[in-house]
């Protein structure tokens, strides 16, 4: 029987899943996913995690609980840095420790460490360490890694064509919003693409005939080009991407407005949110900050999004409805 590797559909799932899937499947494992976020996952996550964790971290715990009894391994990498001289949120460094100490009866946790702050060698070691849980064949591990990288690049290309990660994973077609209003929807991928946590914001915006561009739909080279112009290097990889994306979308006149979705209690968003807001407003572009949390009332988000989109349409057409 194939070893079953469980991947929680939370946090960096939205950035790396196609890569992880290819890697473990090439090694002969079977991938098992948690359910898409639902109320039970949210409740389980909230009940078991520490109370000052942010919503996405709580959701991650809920996804682990959903998966743990159905798999032989749980893949929870310890990601410290994915790019030279940059970090990702400190909660990711402690993620496997947090999960192990808070969730009982876990299967084996694959908690390899990726820290590329100084050089790439840690990635090579992480790949090897992760592969060894499934096979002793080093050559096979490297070839699986090579083809998984290719999958990641294909996945990123598809997003650059305008697909959300879920659409890119499931073979969606680029949306047909060639004309009409577009807005920039930015924020951590696990906030904006998790339809439950985001209260389905993408569908709500598109449902009004308004297109969206997220930071993941922008070429990496553009992000890097703009990030270099910052007065001070942004050392958070996600923060850098979010800031550069908002700048790019405005400067290239790709969007009429920006919605930034943040999770309550996110330290990074608290800072980056304000930086982005100041820069966006200075350029006279409409900006809206949406905070998501554990509450299930959609009215607050709906009213803000609706009013924001009304405002954009109003500006665009100089008319009422």
């Amino acid at each position: 029987m194939k070893p079953r590797v469980g991947i929680p559909r939370a946090l960096l799932y939205y950035n790396y899943y196609p890569m992880w899937k290819e890697f473990f499947e090439r090694l002969g494992a079977e991938i098992v996913l948690s359910e898409l976020t639902n109320k039970k996952i949210l409740d389980d996550g909230v009940n078991c995690s520490v109370d000052d964790a942010c919503l996405p971290i709580k959701l991650f715990h809920g996804h682990v609980i959903d998966l743990k009894d159905r798999v032989d391994f749980l893949f929870i990498p310890r990601l410290i840095s994915v790019q030279r001289s940059e970090y990702i949120c400190p909660k990711f460094c402690g993620l496997p420790d947090m999960v192990v100490s808070l969730v009982n009866d876990l299967p084996t946790v694959i908690d390899v460490t990726v820290n590329m702050r100084n050089n790439n060698s840690s990635l090579r070691k992480a790949v090897l360490d992760a592969g060894r849980y499934i096979t002793g064949d080093v050559v096979r591990i490297y070839s699986a890694y090579k083809s998984s990288l290719q999958k990641l690049h294909e996945f990123q290309r598809k997003m650059e064509e305008g697909l959300t990660p879920l659409e890119a994973m499931h073979g969606g077609k680029p949306s047909s919003f060639k004309e009409g209003i577009k807005i920039g929807l930015i924020g951590h991928p696990y906030n904006i693409y998790d339809n439950y946590a985001s209260m389905d914001i993408i569908r709500k915006i598109r449902g009004r005939g308004i297109g969206i561009i997220t930071q993941d739909m922008i070429r990496e080279s553009e992000i890097d080009r703009i990030a270099k112009t910052f007065p001070k290097a942004m050392f958070w990889s996600f923060g850098k991407k979010i800031m550069a994306a908002s700048e790019y979308l405005i400067d290239e006149k790709k969007v009429e407005g920006i919605i930034y979705m943040v999770a309550f209690g996110c330290g990074l968003d608290a800072l980056v949110g304000d930086l982005v807001e100041r820069r966006v407003r200075k350029k006279g572009v409409p900006f809206c900050l949406i905070t998501i949390d554990e509450h299930t009332g959609e009215a607050g988000i709906d009213t803000r999004v609706e009013a924001f989109l009304d405002m954009l349409e109003w500006r665009n057409a100089s008319k009422c409805w």
């Binding site: 039970k40 905070t291 924001f308 500006r315 409805w321």
Partner: protein
């Protein structure tokens, strides 16, 4: 020729407002009712009162707004269901096409709307915290045994304002009790509270926004002259309170419905006899998946007319198909 009218209904957390505007977009009828947690009954009562005052009139369009707008929209058969921000902006522009800033404080939320050249250019709404909104003032008034209507006038009598913390309603309350136990006069404490709320509002919502004249202050709290004075002092600008400040949302909904009905060429308004209909709600706790959505079905004379609360659309889509 028989005159025709447009109906606007604003169902808020504290009040439900019903207005009529005529063909010339002039306000001809207004009613301010307490929602009392019973939006359906209050809407029906409001329509009944409207019918007995105005008779059987020709309503050519109906609009709904407020936090209960979807429910209200179903009951009256609204031609347009719009959020409060847009409705308030439309109503304020109708009164003064030059308006550049709208301050709005309602029962449980507060907003600031910035307009330039007759269109909304920016807005902000308070977050989950309701400090500084009408229901908080209501509560403090009743704690001090002062009718809310006299609250503002009493504040104006003050000669020595005391400082109250306005960041949070709970802290404000304990600060007020503390000042009261020290022996400060009630009117000084009340003026202090008005200033604290205004400070909190401007820090939260006004942050980084350019507040220019003309400024219009609307919503139920605009009736409080203490708050108006505190705004003028803090902003250094003239703050105008329109005569129908407390029903502006409903006026906006009525104005929007006139355009919507005109565009459609007909109205979906169900008619004034909705007061005879029996509305009820039926909770359907969906067990279809782990989301366990709290779905509810709105029934009119025993027949389902709307349904919402489901995330997947399993129930609400079924309704759309029926319609």
């Amino acid at each position: 020729m028989k005159k025709s009218y447009y109906l606007g209904v604003d169902v808020g957390s504290v009040s439900t407002n019903i207005v009529l505007v005529d063909d010339n977009r002039e306000l001809v009828y207004r009613d301010y009712l307490r929602t009392m947690g019973q939006p359906i009954r209050v809407i029906q009562e409001g329509i009944r009162a409207l019918r007995s005052r105005m008779g059987d009139i020709d309503i050519k369009g109906a609009g709904a707004t407020g936090s209960g707008r979807n429910l209200a929209g179903i009951i009256i058969g609204a031609d347009i269901v719009k959020n409060e921000i847009t409705a308030h902006a439309v109503a304020a522009l109708h009164i003064n096409p030059e308006v550049k800033t709208i301050l709005e404080i309602g029962g449980q939320d507060s907003k600031i709307i910035i307009l330039r050249d007759g269109i909304v250019s920016d807005f902000a709404m308070n977050t989950v915290c309701a400090a500084g909104t009408g229901s908080f003032l209501d509560r403090q008034a009743s704690r001090l045994g002062i009718p809310i209507e006299e609250f503002g006038a009493l504040a104006l009598k003050s000669t020595a304002e005391v400082r109250i913390a306005g960041r949070c309603a709970v802290f404000a309350e304990s600060d007020m009790i503390h000042k009261q136990q020290l022996g400060h006069k009630t009117e000084d404490i009340i003026l202090g509270l008005c200033s604290a709320l205004v400070r909190n509002y401007l820090n939260n919502l006004g942050k980084g926004k350019e507040i220019l004249e003309p400024v219009i202050f609307q919503g139920g709290v605009a009736a409080n002259c203490g708050i108006v004075k505190a705004f003028e002092k803090e902003l250094g600008l003239e703050v105008n309170v329109p005569p129908h400040h407390d029903v502006m949302g409903a006026i906006g909904a009525a104005l929007l419905s006139a355009d919507a009905a005109e565009r459609k060429g007909y109205t979906s308004f169900t008619g004034l006899d909705i007061v005879e209909c029996e509305f009820s709600v039926r909770p359907l706790d969906c067990k279809g998946c782990a989301n366990l959505c709290e779905v509810i079905e709105i029934m009119k004379n025993g027949e389902a007319v709307a349904c919402w609360g489901d995330r997947c659309g399993r129930w609400s889509n079924r309704m759309t198909k029926l319609a």
